[in-house]
Amino acid sequence: MIKIDNLKITYGETTAVNQINAVIQRQEKISIVGRSGSGKTSVLHALAGLITPSSGKISIRNNTRNSTQNSDVNGIREDTAIILQKGGLFPWKNVEANVMLGMINEEISKEDKAKNVDGVLRELDIADQSEKYLHELSGGQRQRVAIARALVQSPDLLLMDEPTASLDMITKEKFQDSLVGLYNRHDITAVIVTHDIEEAVYLGQKILVMSEGRITAEIVNPYYGNPNIRESIEFYELCLKIRQVMKA
């Protein structure tokens, strides 16, 4: 379980996140949706242990992180993987080497690492691209590589920062479908940050709406997991509801 208590994040004079509270259950799929500058990426980075809270605390499993206690960062990161907005992949490494980096500090043999990488690349249907460099891949394939690098870490918690922001609509939908497939196959807790309401509804069991550093709504998605939900009226009604919350 992840518990966020009165989390506040400030950058100099600017308050990015203003005393938010949330609970994320194990294996829950959460979408955080909000406009640019609403503080959603800061929350994600705090969950990943990339930034230190100004006040309040985050508890992941038995590790706690607050403004003074940084010693448990590694404990937080141990079973956590994050996919950054632009993928965070290294263009000077090919697909296989990029994914392999996800296990760089794991004490298993090279052969086992290679086997894991191959398995994940096969699962994501990019095994035939393993020798290629990033500039030889499409946007969708690059994001799959980023997911592969996250998955080889066998995370309990998968964090994603607008992973589809740079993709066209069709590629984006395909990518979202493969994410749902992954959610079903792996017992992971997932938090995705997006400004795309439809994406938030499609990928989230629970949707947290953020505005000006605060969580303004917490909506349970009764349609999550329905493969044809995107074609239904209910789906768009829920999107419209979230849109109204965001505009309020």
Binding site: L50, I82, L89, F90, P91, W92
Partner: protein, 243 residues
């Protein structure tokens, strides 16, 4: 990297040379074919090879030292904010100073031997390489560091997997430019206080009006530069195949 046919360039150079030979005074611009034959004769039966080896020794050692120290300085300035504030202004002040004008001082401080010549080449290249590497380090996308952090890379792993590969294209580009500049300074440095080296060989035969020998020396200097140039290109092809 775009592939190119070097023979087109070589052919054009020789064509231009032949035209100059035909339309300018043939005594001042000797025939290229005869010059190549003279070059072969001088390399095999005269002491041109010794001069070339002296030049290569001075050039390569100076470039290697400038690269090693320039890369270290550039990385230190780019990665350490305290040293950046201290060293970057110093480098910017020193960089535009015409170091060739310091040759007399270098002679006074380091003598007339090989060391002073190599220090002159090193001094000119070091600041250029250091600043180029510094620019490359500070241009690394912040996302790369965040990504490294999420992967819990150690300091050594960060340099090995992120910083060094990210700046490698800049390092190799700078090396290519440095070779050209290094040869130019080498020629200048070898015209003083030595009787070994291609600079000496060329200027000596110029003063003796042996134009065919003089052109052979120039041709050999050009060949050395071209070979090193192509070698750097090969390194780029092998290690920077991701651009």
């Amino acid at each position: 990297m775009k592939k190119m046919n070097p023979w087109i360039g070589i052919l054009l150079v020789f064509l231009l040379w032949e035209l100059l030979h035909c339309f300018v005074n043939p005594l001042l611009v000797p025939d290229p074919v005869n010059t190549v034959i003279t070059l072969g004769r001088l390399l095999l039966f005269d002491d041109l090879l010794v001069h070339a080896l002296f030049s290569l020794y001075r050039l390569s050692l100076a470039i290697v030292m400038a690269m090693v120290l320039g890369i270290i300085t550039g990385i230190i300035m780019g990665m350490n904010h305290v040293l950046e504030k201290l060293l970057v202004p110093f480098m910017y002040v020193i960089f535009p100073v015409p170091k060739a004008a310091l040759l007399p001082i270098i002679f006074v401080l380091f003598g007339l031997g090989d060391l002073s010549k190599m220090i002159l080449i090193w001094m000119i290249l070091y600041f250029q390489i250091g600043l180029a590497v510094y620019d490359a380090v500070i241009s690394i996308d912040e996302d790369m560091y965040i990504s490294a952090k999420t992967l819990s890379l150690t300091r050594v792993q960060l340099y090995r997997h992120v910083v060094f590969p990210a700046i490698l294209p800049s390092i190799l580009s700078t090396l290519r430019t440095s070779v050209g500049i290094g040869i130019a300074i080498l020629f200048f440095a070898e015209t003083y206080a030595t009787d070994k080296g291609l600079g000496y060989f060329i200027m000596n035969h110029w003063s003796l009006l042996n134009y065919s020998e003089m052109y052979s020396g120039i041709l050999l200097l050009g060949i050395i530069g071209y070979v090193i140039f192509r070698w750097v290109d090969l390194l780029r092809y092998k290690f920077v195949n991701w651009t």
